[in-house]
């Protein structure tokens, strides 16, 4: 399936865009997506942390991605 991934903060700089489309095999878990992305964009490996949000919630590594999910890269947050 094809998924769309939103990028924020430094991940937007690393990916060079505020979103990207990616073809992934099903089933695809958050864990698998992180591995794929870090292969394509090795600079993601250097971050203090990288979370994946799925439908506006932090996604557990085991969470299964579904077609149409809103997926976002969450590098270390720094509000306040």
């Amino acid at each position: 399936m094809e998924i769309e991934i939103l990028a924020f903060g430094i991940t937007k700089d690393i990916i060079g865009n505020k979103s990207l489309k990616l073809k992934v095999e099903t089933p695809c878990r958050v864990r698998d997506l992180k591995i794929l992305l870090k292969k394509d964009y090795p600079k993601l490996e250097l971050l203090t942390s990288l979370m994946i949000a799925v439908n506006e919630n932090y996604g557990d590594l085991d969470l299964l991605l579904q077609e149409g999910d809103e997926i976002a890269l969450i590098p270390p947050v720094a509000g306040g």
Binding site: F8, K12, L46, P75, G79, G80
Partner: protein
Amino acid sequence: MKVIDIILTNEKLSLEKAVDFVRAEQAGGIVTFVGTVRNQTKGKKVIRLEFEAYEKMALSEMRKIAEQILFDFEINSVAIYHRTGNLSIGEIPVVIAVSAPHRKAAFAACEFAMDRLKKTVPIWKKEFFEDGAVWVSAHP
């Protein structure tokens, strides 16, 4: 009664608005936290800041914090405001106000909310120095 007020905006934040929201006749005290943009980070001069938010999720995470402190502390109401976009030195990126019948709970809840906000709310801060810019906390 409305007990939670959440705002994410690129306009100036109003502490007065937050305090007015949480003021209640049965409240005895209000504790607020007001963040301000510092003029330096680890001794390096900061010129300005930029805050970027994943807006829908940031609002939802801010609301989760408000709900959690209402559940965990003996408080009346809470306002959490965060700003986005460009901020100059001294400007206010965040305002939290908490009212409670007794001040101890208001202090504890306000501090907890701020600690939590820095950990869970998807907002990113870019610091601009004279010789470049850095996304805060991105790298170890």
